[in-house]
Symmetry: C2
């Protein structure tokens, strides 16, 4: 599949490399590719310059947001939450009827008193994007783990899960298939409509405190529950 | 220990019975004990009348909020989130220096578009109570599972966890001991200061969607993570 990833940070790079490694044709979209490639210093998070990563991944092209949006069969939003809406607009998502947008972003705000979200509780980043681009089919997934675990769930022991939410069943099936290719086969739990993205995004605050408590961000949860009849709605 | 539980609903009853069963002297506090005992119909949630439960638990006395607050060695807040501050005020928590308050409540709001929280993200119910009653020592725990699982973790398979948060280490130790008596020994993960209650309360939205997806509220999570050095900060 032709999959384009918006965002050149750690998450975008991890997903671009991971999706290319399982055989997809992948490009990374950014506002100004020349400027991105010209950088020679690590960014504020300590991420090495993109040009160095590009050398190691010659199969992944760097393109403009508009180019990334124009020919994607599936678009991944791996931009920061505060930049997501503008990035999707620049990618022309509003003109792509039915485009599947896999939203892995979180609306994180790091303040003096810890982590919070810029949208939460009665709304979610995923829902704001779906409302802004009603012709797109937004699916939330992968936002509940760090970038390394997104493409290599075996970094974490146990049968830990990946949540998905979205209003379009076929789009969720497409994303669930991709998740399987990345190692999440048999671990996907469909939470229902996109409104459930509220839970997935709010959970990230607990994830952050738990990661600090145990000493690693290579962390995820398994969902354990009593037997039910009829059998569970979990998806494989 | 003399443990008094504020709240006569399902959560208060489960904790009162569970704590009495492991040998504590337990009373339940409510605004108007006579009115509570006079009710003969199930409440809006379908919970049977308290008087029927009282017959089955003659060892648990029903007292006023003021009586419950006056002689408790440890107070459990099992009221609804919207009523918690008033209930603790009526219990005289402001006059009890150093009283350990185990806050198991969630600030739930059930609306037309699902579950949300009346306080979240940049604050938590637990923190609002700690600020309102600065002489108390508030510990958040047990809010992440339903009342049946609170006192019987074996209802759910697997090594699922109980999170705790609080600013006072000795108070957290006391609560962690109680949790062990209820079946949570070896399963307690200390998330740090009370601010982490934000994560614990926000997680409940994910818990609610996950429970609907799998078909039971007898559900909890295990925390899986990569090996760390030094060893994890999880507490037993």
């Amino acid at each position: 599949m032709k999959i384009n990833v918006l965002g050149t940070g750690q998450v975008g790079r991890a997903l671009a490399a991971g999706l290319a490694a399982v055989g997809h044709e992948v490009a990374v979209g950014t506002r100004d590719p020349a400027a991105t490639l010209a950088r020679t210093e690590p960014d504020a998070q300590g991420t090495p310059p993109y040009a160095r990563w590009q050398e190691e991944h010659p199969d992944v092209r760097l393109v403009t947001l508009a180019e990334a949006g124009a020919d994607a069969e599936l678009l991944v939003n791996a931009t920061s939450g505060s930049a997501s809406r503008d990035a999707l607009a620049a990618a022309g998502v509003g003109e792509r009827d039915g485009l599947v947008v896999l939203d892995v972003a979180n609306p994180l705000v790091f303040g003096a008193d810890g982590l919070s979200l810029s949208v939460a509780n009665t709304d979610s980043l995923a829902e704001t994007l779906q409302r802004a681009f009603p012709a797109a089919r937004v699916v939330k997934a992968l936002n509940t783990v760090n970038s390394a675990v997104m493409v290599d769930p075996a970094r974490v022991p146990g049968q830990h899960v990946m949540f998905v939410a979205g209003d379009d069943a076929a789009a969720k099936d497409t994303v669930t298939g991709l998740l399987g290719e990345l190692g999440w086969a048999g671990r996907v739990l469909d939470l229902g409509g996109l409104r459930a993205a509220r839970g997935m995004e709010m959970y990230v605050v607990l994830w952050w405190y738990a990661a600090r408590a145990v000493g690693t961000f290579d962390l995820n949860v398994t969902v354990e529950h009593a037997a039910t009849a009829p059998p569970t709605a979990s998806r494989t």
